[in-house]
């Protein structure tokens, strides 16, 4: 793992659930609770995308949800990263041939990290968020370079 040097704040995460079956969503909450305790790293779920550094998306995205997800993504400040949790968000999963799915999440918004699994274990979710953290670190460095 690289060193975290530029990103000096706690990492705030916003969670948007699309057409997910809830399994990934409850594993995200489980990752925050005492057994896995992601909050000890300062990783926190927030109530608004405008406060978030990382967007967690679960589930294959139903058609009428796609524009809402795009709006959430656009509301997030830079630098930002998107993490897809679960198989159906990554590839469509078991819902691949549905008539109401706008496709896997990377067809709707740009995605940085994929965490496959049905559902992935909380350890895997934390690992995915750390990978996104490293990406944000890189983006932050670039932004700093531009300012100078």
């Amino acid at each position: 793992m690289g060193k975290l040097t530029n990103f000096k704040r706690s990492l705030w995460v916003f969670h948007a659930s699309g057409g997910s079956c809830n399994a990934c969503d409850i594993e995200i909450i489980a990752a925050l609770t005492p057994r896995y305790d992601a909050e000890r790293f300062g990783i926190k779920l927030v109530g608004s995308p405008r406060h978030a550094d990382v967007l967690l998306v679960t589930g294959a995205i139903p058609r009428d949800f796609a524009d809402k997800l795009r709006r959430i993504y656009e509301q997030m400040p830079d630098p930002k990263a998107v993490v897809v949790i679960g198989n159906c968000g990554t590839t469509g999963g078991v819902f691949y041939d549905s008539y109401n799915i706008a496709g896997p999440i990377d067809e709707v918004i740009p995605v940085d990290v994929y965490v496959p699994g049905c559902p992935p274990r909380p350890e895997a979710i934390i690992d995915g968020i750390v990978k996104a953290w490293l990406k944000i670190e890189k983006l932050e460095k670039e932004l700093e370079g531009k300012e100078k």
Binding site: A16, S17, G18, G19, S20, C21, N22, A23, C24, D25, I26, E27, I29, A30, T33, P34, R35, V46, G47, S48, G59, A60, P62, D64, F65, K68, I72, C88, G93, V94, F95, D97, S98, Y99, N100, I101, C118, P119, R121
Partner: protein
Amino acid sequence: MAKTTYYIPVGPIHPALKEPIRVEAEVEGEKIVKVDVKRGFAHRGIEYMGMKRNAIQTLYLSERICGICSISHPYAFVIGSEKALGIEAPPRAQYIRTIIAELERIHSHILWLGVIAHEIGFDPLLFWTWKGREKVLDILEAITGNRINYAMYMIGGVRRDLKESHIKALRDMITYYWEFTEHMKEVFLSDPVYKARTRGVAQLSKEMALKLNVVGPTARAAGIRMDVRQDIPYDAYADMDVKAIVPQDIVGEARGDAYDITMVRLYEIEQSLDIIEFCLDNLPEGKILAIPNYVALLNKIKKTEGEAIGAHEAPRGEVIHYLKYDGTRDGPAVWKVIAPSYNNINSWAPLLLGAEVADIPVVVAYIDPCMCCNDRVAVVEDSSGRLLDYSYLHKKAVEKTRKLEKELGVRR
């Protein structure tokens, strides 16, 4: 005349909601005067896909209707299919199915207790209950191989057997949960602030409950004795005496509010422990699959005509699957799913009318809604037209709890 009501949309992406649904409320000051619920944001066309696939593939698809009830939907599906196809699961498989279903009820009810604690601002309680929940997830992982989405059931039995080591672990778990539930009862039921915050909130009278056709713990909290395990017993439930848990049996009267629901859910955890213990004591020996060869099973399905209804008491209420096999293909020709939250969400609008804005999270959470079983974001505007986001609503809910704490003179 100046405008007196304001419009508050909540959802489809909202922090109080873990899944997409939209509640639109008109408020006059703190009071809600008009409500509209819009659902359908999580529609994935599952029934349509299921009618194109074979029955075994559809069984795993049914598991993905909901990740929290990832046993309830397959349970109703296998019961319906077995009735339609004339297959009977071996007794050992029936008992194992009942054990897994009750394990799921324990994890789901503890999950709900954590969520309701979070909604009213007791976050340490959320973390504590979810810590206790990990134990049952460990057991489920040991038996089925996954924490959620277990892929355990099969038409005509189960796919994995219970080993001696699992039975020992289950007995340890039962001892652990008797103690943990006792502790939870003390924390939830005897805490004066919790009581003040939930008594009279989301109150559903017996008449209303019958009229709105609510099911599961929501109906039982209103005093209606209904439980699929009691009314039309199946599998191991037929060998024991399952009685619906209603508040009048516990404290003498049923009020149907959020406090009664908490009570019903806590006592149901104990009931589940009893059921698991009974199943372990009477676990029959023998096969676990009626037709162990899946190719033979699909062949039989292809040649059989029949239709049936499969019902199971999920943690949130009854889940019903209607299946029809037409004898021409190896999957269901017609598949219809009715999930409990579909009925229960109907109770939101009447309950929210006249309630305070700070009660929205409690009313929304109390039925333990499951949109993936059905459909989430809310926006609320205050008098200056400012948008109130979920964190603000949550803050209001917490503030009300703190105010009550002060009024009741409770120090923490």
